[in-house]
Amino acid sequence: MWVSGGTSKERIGEVLLKKGLITQQQLEEALEYQKKYGGRLGWILASLGYIRRIDLFRTLAEHLGLEFIDDLEKIKSLVDKNFLMRFDPEELARYEVIPARQTQEGVLLLTSYPNSEKFHEFVRRHFEDKPIKEIIITDLDLIKTLETYFKDHFVDRAVHGLFYLSPEYSASQVFSKGQVFFMGLFLYGSLLWIYYDAVSYVITLIAVIQVFYVISILFKLLVSLAGAKSEMQQFITEDEVKNLDEKDLPVYTVLVPVYKEPEVIGILINSLKKMDYPQNKLDVILLLEEDDKETLEAAKAQKPPANWRFIIVPPSLPKTKPKACNYGLFFARGKYLTIYDAEDIPEPDQLKKAVIAFEKGGGQYICFQAALNYFNKDENFLTKMFTLEYSYWFDYLLPGLYNLKLPIPLGGTSNHFDVEKLKEIGAWDPFNTTEDADLGVRAFGKGYKVGVINSTTYEEANARVRNWIRQRSRWIKGYMQTWLVHARNSKKLYKNVGLRGFLAFHLLIGGTPLVFLINPIMWLVFIFWLVTKTKALDIFFPPWLLYLSLFNLLFGNFMGIYLNMIAVFKRRYYNLLPYAFLNPIYWMLHSRASYKALYELFTKPFYWQKTQHGITKYKPPIVGAV
C-alpha cells in the first residue's frame, strides 16, 4: 500500500541554506518578506529569483520525503492514459494535479504542490477513501504533461469555448442569416428607390446620416462631461492602498500574450519585478506561439523568477491574442487576472488598486479597466495624436460611461478580471479582433458591472503610419464584429442593458466605425462644393438639411477638437494641446483604417493584423517615476 511521505524536521529554508542554494542574507530577506506578505517560504525564494524552479521542487520533495521527477519522458511513462482521460482536464489544470494511474495499491498523483489546500481538496473530492502516492514534478512539467494528453481539448476550448457556451455571442459567424437578409433587402430597396426617385433617396440618406451625427455629438458631449466629473473624486485613494493588509492579498495572474516581440519583453519583466505586489502572489504567464522562438529566447535571457511561466500556445486557427489568453486562462492560479502587453509599464500600485476595487465593488464587478497612456508621446505627430486620443478615451470617455452606468468597451490591456466570473461568461472570443470591447459589452449584458480604476499603464504609441493603420484597422474591424454580434441579439441586448445601454452600445460600438466610414464622403462633398460652388448639389440639400449639415460640419468638428483639447489637463500634457487642432488629419487616418477594416471584414474577418512594437526611439520610463 502506498503512503505519503513525511515532512522532515528541518525547515525548507534551512535545507536550502545547507545545500548552499541560498545565502543567509537571502533567507533572512525571504523570512521578512514572509512576515510581511504571508505565503510559503520556498515559493517566496523562488519568486524573488534566489533559487531556480527545479531546485525549489527538488528540495520540496526532499523536505516532504517524496519522490521528485524532472524527466518529462519518465513522467509520461508513469501515466495511464485511460485512467487520466476520466478526469476533466480543466479541473486538473486548475488544481495542478495529474492522477497518473490507479493500481490495487492506490492512486498515483503527480503534483507540484502536494501539501497545498488545493491539492487536498482535489484528493477529498476524487479519492477520499483511497490511499494515494504523490510524486513531485515541476509546475511547467505538469502543464507539459497535461498538454501531452489534452492538447486538443485545451485548443478546442480556447477556440470554441464561447461558442459552446453561448453560440449567439461568438463572432465566428460574421453575419447571421437575418443580417444577410437585411443587407440584401436594404440594397434591393435602395436600388428600387434610386430607380424611381434618386433625389429623395439621397436626401433621406443624407438626413439619416446628419441626424446620426447630431446624436453622436450630443452623446459624446454628455459622456465627456460625466467623465470629467471623475477628476473630482479618486475611486481608489492613496490611503486605501496604504491601509491594505498585504497578507490578505490574493494570488494575481498576469497574462502576457506575445508574438515576435523579443525587443520589448524585457520592459515588462522589469516592470513586473517592480510592481508593488508580493512577488510570491504574482502568477505571470507568458503566452507564446510555437513558431516564436526568438521571443521565448529573449524572455529566457531575462532570467525571470519562478513565478513566471512560459506557455506555448499550440498552433491553430484563428491565430489571435484572445485565443492565446483563453489558453492561458486554463492554467491561471489567481483569483484575479489581468492582461499586459509585452511593452506595458503599469503603475506599481495598479494590482493593489484593482484588488481594492473588487472588494469595494461587493461582488458585482467582473472587471476593472485601468487607463492606458503612452511613454513616447513626444516622438512624432502620430504618437502625439495617439496620446491625445488615449488621454481623452481613458481619462474622460470611459469614466463617463462608467458614471452613467453604460457598457464599457474594454481596452486591450490592463483590464483586471475576476477569474471565476470571466470563465462563467465564456472568456474572450478568439474570433473577435477587439475581444476586449466585446467582452465589456457581453459582461454588461450578463448583468455584471465593469468599472474603471485610477491607475495607468504606459505603452509604446505606434510611431509609424502603416503600422498604425494595421493596428487601427484591426480595432475597427473588431468594433464592427462586436456590433454585428450584439446587434443580431438586439432584443436580448435591449432586455439586458436597458434603453440607455442599448443606445450607448449602438452609438459607441456601431457608431464609431460608421462615423469614420461616412466622414470622407461628406468631406469630399463639402470640398467639391467649396471648390466648384456648384448648384448641382442644391437639390440634395433642402434648406433644413443644409442647416443640419452645416451645424454638424461646424459645431461637430469644433466639439471633436474641443473635447480632445481638454484631455491634456489631467496628465498635464500641455505641450500636446495645439495638436488637437490637427485632429481632422488624424480622423482621415481613421477613415483610411476603417475602409481597410471593412474590406477585411468581408475578406479575412478573423485575421489578426499584428502591431509591431519596439520601434520607438524613446527609452521606456522607470516604473513608479512615470
Binding site: A228, K229, L554, Y562, I566
Partner: protein, 474 residues
C-alpha cells in the same frame, strides 16, 4: 427641500412673473419692439416665401432668435428663456453657498431691471449671466484645477458671442488674466489654458464669418449690413465723441459708472472685499472682476454703446457670483449696498434715456404705459379688411405689421428674390403698398409722392400719422 424641487419651483415662479408682466403690458398696448423684430424674423424663417433660415438675417446674434423659434407665443419666448437662464444661474449659486447670499440673490431676481431684461431682452440677460459664469468657471479652474470648469467656462464664453458679438472685446482681458496667473507654471500651461478658454469664441467667430460668406457672399455682412447688430444702436452724440479715443472712452465710462453707481454699489463693495479674501492672485482677479467695465469701455471706444440702466444687471451678477463663490459674506456693508441698489433700481430708470426700460419701470410703479403697438395692429387689420393678397413694404421699419398680420406670405419683403422687381414695377406684383411716412425706408425712397398720398396705379385707402396704405386700381 430637495434642490431640484427648489429649482423647479423657482422656474415656475419666474416664468409666471415674467409672462404676467409681458402679457399685462401687451394688454395695455405695449410690446418692446425687439420682441417683435425677433418674432418677425423667425416667422419669415419658418413660414416665409421661401422659408429659409437665413431670413433671420445673419446680422444679429443667432441665439437671440432661438426661443422665438421654439415658443410660438412671442410674449412667452423671452420670459421662458429668461426663466431657464436665471434658474440655471441660481442653481450655480445654490451649489456654492446659498444661505448668506439668499437675500441678495432674491434682490437681483426681483430687481425691476432684471425683470425688464427677462421679459423683453432675454438675449442681453443671457449674455450677462453667461459672461459672469464664464468668468467664475475660469476662477474655479484656477482654484481647484478641474478641467471641466475650464471647458465649461470656455464654452460659455463662446456662447456669449452668439448672444452679443461684443464678447470678443473681452478676449484681451482673459489673455492677461491667464498670463498673470500662470506665468510661474510655464509657457505650455499658459498657452494651453489660453487656447481652451478662447478656442470656442474664436471658433464661433469663424463659424459666423463662414456662414455670412456662404449665405450672403460677404463674411462681414453682420458688421457692414444696415440691419447690423452694431448699427442698430441709437447713439448719443456724447458717445460718438468718445469713439476711437481712449481718453474720451475712459472719461465717458467714468461718467456712466457714476450714473450707475447707486445701482452697482454691491459691485463696488465686493471689489474692495476681494483683497481680504484672495490675496494670492489679487491683481489678475481684479482684472476679471473688471470685465463689465472693460466691456463698457470697449463698447464706447468702438461706439457700440447705448447708455442704459439695465447695464447694471451685469455688475450685479458679478457682485452676487463673486460674493457667493468666494465666500465673501457676513458683511453689513454688502447687505446695505444691495438694499440701496435694489431701491435705486426702482427710481433711477425713470430718468433713463432708454425709453423701454423707462416705460417698463414706470408701468411697474404706476400700472400705466405709453402704448406703442396700436398703430401696427390697426394697419394690419386694414390690410386684411382691404383683402390685400400681396403687400409691398419695407420691414426694416414695419416689421410689427408683419408680425400682427401673422402671415408673411402676404408680403413682398427685402429678403425675397423678387422684391426689387416688385419695387420697380409694383403694379405687376403687389396689390397693396404700405408706406411709412415718418422714417427713411426703401418704399419712400422709391415713391416719394406716396408720402402725400399719391402713387401711380394705386389708390390711397387708409392714412394716419405714420402710414399710408395704397390699393391697386383695377
Amino acid at each position: 427641500m430637495r434642490p431640484l424641487l427648489v429649482l423647479y419651483l423657482l422656474f415656475l415662479c419666474l416664468i409666471f412673473l415674467f409672462y404676467t408682466a409681458s402679457h399685462t403690458l401687451y394688454e395695455a398696448g405695449y410690446v418692446h419692439l425687439n420682441v417683435l423684430f425677433y418674432a418677425e424674423k423667425v416667422l419669415l424663417a419658418k413660414e416665409g416665401e421661401p422659408p429659409r433660415l437665413e431670413n433671420i438675417g445673419l446680422v444679429y446674434p443667432p441665439l437671440a432668435f432661438l426661443p422665438f423659434w421654439f415658443v410660438s407665443d412671442y410674449l412667452m419666448a423671452s420670459p421662458f428663456a429668461s426663466a431657464i437662464t436665471l434658474t440655471l444661474f441660481f442653481s450655480f449659486l445654490l451649489k456654492r453657498c446659498l444661505s448668506p447670499v439668499y437675500f441678495i440673490v432674491v434682490s437681483l431676481l426681483l430687481n425691476p431691471l432684471t425683470i425688464f431684461l427677462a421679459v423683453y431682452r432675454f438675449e442681453v440677460l443671457s449674455f450677462y449671466i453667461l459672461l459672469t459664469l464664464s468668468v467664475m468657471f475660469l476662477i474655479l479652474h484656477m482654484e481647484m484645477g478641474y478641467s471641466i470648469y475650464l471647458f465649461v467656462g470656455g464654452f460659455l464664453l463662446g456662447l456669449c458671442f452668439f448672444f452679443d458679438f461684443r464678447s470678443v472685446f473681452l478676449i484681451p482681458l482673459f489673455v492677461l488674466f491667464i498670463f498673470f496667473t500662470t506665468k510661474q507654471a510655464g509657457r505650455d500651461y499658459t498657452l494651453a489654458l489660453t487656447m481652451v478658454k478662447l478656442t470656442p469664441i474664436v471658433f464661433f467667430v469663424f463659424i459666423w464669418l463662414y456662414l455670412n460668406w456662404v449665405f450672403t457672399g460677404d463674411p462681414l455682412t453682420f458688421i457692414k449690413s444696415p440691419y447690423s447688430f452694431f448699427k442698430g444702436r441709437a447713439l448719443g452724440t456724447d458717445v460718438l465723441v468718445a469713439k476711437g479715443s481712449i481718453l474720451g472712452s475712459l472719461k465717458y465710462s467714468a461718467l456712466q459708472l457714476f450714473y450707475l453707481l447707486p445701482l452697482i454699489l454691491p459691485y463696488v463693495v465686493v471689489l474692495f472685499k476681494l483683497k481680504k479674501y484672495r490675496v494670492l492672485y489679487l491683481f489678475p482677479l481684479y482684472l476679471l472682476y473688471l470685465s463689465p467695465i472693460t466691456l463698457m469701455l470697449f463698447s464706447i471706444y468702438f461706439s457700440y454703446f447705448f447708455p442704459s440702466y439695465y447695464y447694471s444687471v451685469l455688475f450685479l451678477a458679478f457682485a452676487v457670483t463673486f460674493a457667493s463663490s468666494l465666500n465673501i459674506r457676513g458683511s453689513k456693508a454688502l447687505a446695505v449696498a444691495f438694499i440701496v441698489s435694489f431701491l435705486a433700481s426702482w427710481v433711477l430708470p425713470l430718468y433713463s434715456k432708454e425709453e423701454n426700460e423707462k416705460n417698463f419701470v414706470k408701468f411697474l410703479l404706476t400700472g400705466r404705459v405709453k402704448e406703442n403697438i396700436g398703430e401696427y395692429i390697426k394697419v394690419a387689420k386694414v390690410l386684411k379688411d382691404q383683402g390685400c393678397e400681396k403687400t409691398l413694404l419695407d420691414d426694416k421699419t414695419d416689421f410689427p405689421v408683419v408680425v400682427f398680420s401673422q402671415n408673411p406670405k402676404k408680403f413682398y419683403l427685402p429678403y425675397m428674390y423678387e422684391y426689387y422687381s416688385a419695387l420697380s414695377t409694383p403694379i405687376a406684383f403687389a396689390d397693396c403698398i404700405l408706406v411709412n411716412k415718418n422714417s427713411q425706408n426703401i418704399i419712400l425712397d422709391r415713391f416719394p409722392t406716396s408720402k402725400m398720398g399719391f402713387l401711380k396705379g394705386y389708390m390711397l385707402v387708409y392714412s394716419d400719422e405714420t402710414y399710408n396704405v395704397f390699393k391697386r386700381v383695377r
